[in-house]
């Protein structure tokens, strides 16, 4: 038995599952401290059964870390070690960060000798005594977490690992984040992701601690896992070290849940909420990842985030006529007070849908005054918005299944241009919690290989080995590893057929089959 919990901005959704069977679902408001809502959800799910349940695992997708960054709250004093000299010093760490975020982590920056060329040769060897000195200085400066970033460390992580060992020896209490475990090629973006990870160390410890306590308080001995933003899980110990990998797991969990509920691995998933619709695309059961830099809290990063397009179309979106405009404003949570069908005075998309007979919500008589022309025009615009978003996400022009989840799915009818079929799965409103519950443990690796020095098969095998190591260290059963994605990107202007390979693997949680 597993419990999947997804903490969103407004609601905390949860499910109790026995293998592939949904036993119970529960929705509650997200609390300010987050843990409160989780405790409520856990209690409710356990209470749903008369008998005592054995819950093997609890999986949590949380916005804790995103919130901490956005609110600049509880961030660790961070030290930054960039192994790069004599290269890259024209753009020091955090060169393009918002000022108040820099200030709130009190970044102590050190540029040291080290770093690699694209083919693994050293730019400079690292200087161990220099690293020791810097570590002592950081300790005296009150640094609590260190981010280590070496140029081209994804080609060979050795320099970062040696630096980490030295810091561990000198200051055993120091939290350490190594860039090769976190981000991709692209120094500033990977460095930013690593610094963000380091500064979340305290939040990750307290959040994971609180979740564990919530589980224990209910008499459960379940293992705790956190959702990663690529749709896989990491165990509690891994999550404490890599909180940044848990940012933005919400849309991913929704999409994974949609895939599970429909049995379809390749589809568009549109999650229509109160204010916006998040559209993503599933490939092999996982959301396509964004290929461009992702802004987190005002900082440019490049790591595995789902490619989600958010459009201002939701159940509470305002409808204005002459000229007809949908949104972007929305009554959001005040739908039941302010929309026409509930006796309010604001025309929303929900009112239009009810007037058109697409939904039975509130009182239909209250929207009979909306003219047929306005209803038709509004529906047309709403569909065009959805169709345009869907079209932007597709890989090619072939028709593709479209799965609609979320409370506002009734806004869109089944005639969607570009869709081969439109599916509204039962339990779509808790697709996110289901996605958390059914996830496997994942690991990713990316590296640059030269195909004149090894074959494509060897390169893939090497990257797979690294991805597997990461999945296993995140808690996966080594016997159960399978590859879910291989991406090959040939590199330009480089000699000898240089190629970048990204491998993603998943594995099962050891105690559960």
């Amino acid at each position: 038995m597993r419990i999947g919990i997804d903490v969103g901005g407004t609601n905390t959704d949860s499910v109790l599952m026995d293998g592939a069977r949904l036993i119970h679902k529960f929705k509650t408001r997200t609390t300010a401290d987050i843990t409160g809502g989780i405790q409520t959800a856990l209690s409710a799910l356990l209470a749903s059964s008369a008998k005592r349940l054995t819950v093997d695992a609890v999986m949590v997708g949380t916005t804790h870390f995103t919130n901490a960054l956005l609110q600049r709250r509880d961030l660790a004093v961070t030290g930054i070690l960039r192994l790069c000299l004599p290269a890259t010093d024209m753009l020091p760490p955090m060169v393009d960060w918002p000022e108040e975020l820099r200030a709130s982590i009190q970044g102590h920056t050190y540029l040291l000798e080290g770093g690699l060329e694209f083919d693994g040769r050293e730019i400079s060897p690292i200087n161990e005594s220099q690293i020791r000195d810097v570590t002592r200085r950081m300790a005296s400066e009150g640094v609590q977490a260190v981010a280590i970033i070496g140029v081209f460390s994804s080609v060979d992580p050795t320099q970062e690992q040696i630096a980490a060992k030295i810091i561990e020896q000198e200051t055993p209490h120091m939290r350490i984040s190594m860039s090769h475990e976190i981000g991709r090629v692209g120094l500033l973006e990977r460095e930013n992701a690593t610094i963000l990870n380091a500064c979340l160390s305290r939040v990750s410890e307290s959040a994971v601690g609180a979740f564990k306590l919530a589980i224990e308080d209910l008499g459960l001995s379940s293992s705790l896992f956190l959702s990663q933003n690529d749709g896989t899980l990491m165990d509690a110990e891994f999550a404490i070290k890599y909180p940044v990998l848990a940012i933005s797991s919400g849309p991913t969990n929704s999409m994974r849940g949609a895939s599970f509920l429909t049995g379809i691995d390749d589809a568009i998933v549109a999650d229509i909420g109160g204010t916006s619709t998040d559209v993503g695309i599933l490939r092999n059961g996982f959301p396509r990842e964004s290929s461009i830099a992702v802004d987190i809290g005002g900082v440019r990063t490049n790591f595995r985030m789902p490619d989600v397009l958010s459009i201002p179309l939701g159940g509470g979106s305002l409808v204005k006529t002459s000229p007809l405009v949908i949104g972007p404003d929305s009554v959001a949570m005040r739908l039941m007070e302010q929309s026409l069908v509930f006796g309010g005075s604001i025309m929303t998309t929900t009112d239009v849908a009810v007037a058109a007979g697409m939904a039975d919500i509130g009182q239909k008589s209250l929207v009979s005054k909306i003219s047929r022309t306005d209803v038709d025009e509004a529906l047309k615009v709403m569909h065009e918005m959805a169709e345009e978003a869907i079209d932007r996400l597709k890989f090619n022009s072939d028709d593709i299944p479209v799965v609609l989840v979320g409370g506002g799915h009734f806004l869109i009818n089944d005639q969607i241009t570009g869709s081969s079929e439109v599916i509204r799965p039962k339990n779509g409103e808790i697709a996110n919690a289901i996605g958390a519950a059914i996830a496997q443990i994942g690991g990713q690796a990316e590296s640059i290989f030269s195909l004149s020095e090894m074959t494509r098969k060897e390169a893939i095998s090497s990257a797979t080995k690294e991805a597997t190591t990461r999945a296993v260290s995140a808690g996966a059963d080594p016997e159960s590893i399978s590859i879910v994605d291989i991406e090959e990107i040939p590199l330009t202007y480089l000699p000898s057929n240089a190629i970048r390979i990204r491998i993603k693997v998943v594995g099962n949680i050891p105690e559960i089959t």
């Binding site: 290269a87 890259t88 024209m90 393009d96 694209f118 040939p490 590199l491 330009t492 202007y493």
Partner: protein, 357 residues
């Protein structure tokens, strides 16, 4: 004479991206480096060629290497180091700097040594757009020597190529050296005279970049048509408008080759455009008929915002407008076409100049 200030960099990047015809690399890093230099040393002076005198020595600088490596092993002051090494090698002192390529991040490269040395940058460049190979510069076509060429890396290595058979040979040798240096380097070229700059450089390209960028940003702020704004600044033509319906990519011999297919919308409905590229966009066909070909410029911009899209970032579903601009006259002569005409990129077609509406 004007000055490049920090607030101008965003506009110059956008304009340089449009002139980059799909190539030119990632503009973000180039912009950040120029910004750091301007913050440290102050605004950079820009002179037009007319303001140069007989004794001026103008040195062309640029970055060379793999763009994917350039976003990881970020460049520092290598172009300044190359400049100093060149001056020492020849026993001269440069009095001004000029960009090799206005298309893309090389547009801002001269600002780095300009800041450190206090020299001005000339409002001109060697391409008027972007091209994949070193020897494809207007300077060389019209007799400016391509050697000595000095390369510098970040580790303190300097390589001097004092002699080479042709510009293409410099490209080959320089690329081999650059790869050994770690695929990221900068170079400085033998100085030009004022006369050479006036006669062989594409004039006012930095000003054009800034104006293009300003017009796109203003259009976005005032919610007006950025494509119209672009064409008001730089005469050209809307070649196509539509949605990307397919992309194919292949990397051969180190260059990103491929083609993009666009399904037309609006007045281009029911027609299809295909553009072939080799880092830069080279040939555009509308329903199989060639409507624009290298050296004329083919730029793909976001239909709504007017932002240029590099070939690496093209994706299915993007709503794009394809713009054609005439190449600088320097490229359209027989000499110019011998270096950058369609046959130089493997197309067995005649160059027919872009017709403006």
């Amino acid at each position: 004479m004007w000055q490049v200030k920090e607030e101008d960099l965003a506009s110059i990047s956008i304009g340089a991206g449009i002139l980059g015809t799909g190539g030119g690399g990632n503009p973000y890093i180039g912009m950040l480096r120029a910004r750091e230099m301007i913050r440290r040393y102050g605004p950079v002076e820009v002179l037009s060629s007319d303001e140069l005198g007989e004794d001026d020595k103008i040195v062309c600088v640029g970055g060379i290497g793999a763009p994917t490596v350039g976003i990881e092993k970020i460049r520092g002051k290598q172009s300044y180091d190359a400049l100093i090494a060149l001056e020492n090698h020849l026993g001269i002192k440069a009095t001004a700097l000029i960009s090799n390529e206005i298309g893309g991040s090389n547009s801002l490269e001269p600002l780095i040594p300009a800041s450190i040395s206090g020299l001005p940058v000339i409002d001109a460049d060697g391409m008027g757009r972007a091209f994949p190979e070193f020897h494809m510069k207007t300077f060389f076509v019209y007799g400016v020597p391509y050697v000595p060429m000095v390369l510098a890396d970040e580790k303190g290595n300097i390589a001097v190529i004092p002699q080479a058979l042709t510009g293409k040979w410099v490209e080959r040798i320089a690329r081999a050296i650059t790869i050994q240096m770690g695929s990221v380097a900068c170079y400085a070229l033998a100085p030009m005279t004022a006369q050479q700059v006036r006669n062989t450089a594409v004039q006012n390209s930095l000003t054009l970049s800034k104006k293009l960028g300003d017009s796109v940003r203003k259009a976005n702020q005032t919610k007006s048509d950025p494509v119209q704004a672009i064409l008001e600044v730089n005469p050209g033509r809307v070649l196509f408008e539509g949605k990307i319906s397919g992309i194919q990519r292949k990397t051969t011999q180190g260059f990103a080759r491929g083609n993009v297919t666009i399904d037309g919308s609006g007045k281009f409905s029911d027609t299809v455009m295909e553009i072939e590229f080799q880092n830069e966009n080279l040939i555009a066909r509308l329903d199989d008929e060639i409507v624009c070909v290298v050296p004329d410029l083919i730029s793909i911009v976001d239909s709504e915002k007017g932002d240029p899209i590099t070939t690496e970032l093209l994706r299915y579903g993007f709503r794009v407008t394809v713009l054609g601009f005439p190449a600088p006259d320097l490229w359209k002569t027989a000499k110019g076409l011998q270096v950058v005409g369609p046959s130089c990129f493997g197309y067995d077609v005649d160059y027919i100049p872009l017709e403006l509406g």
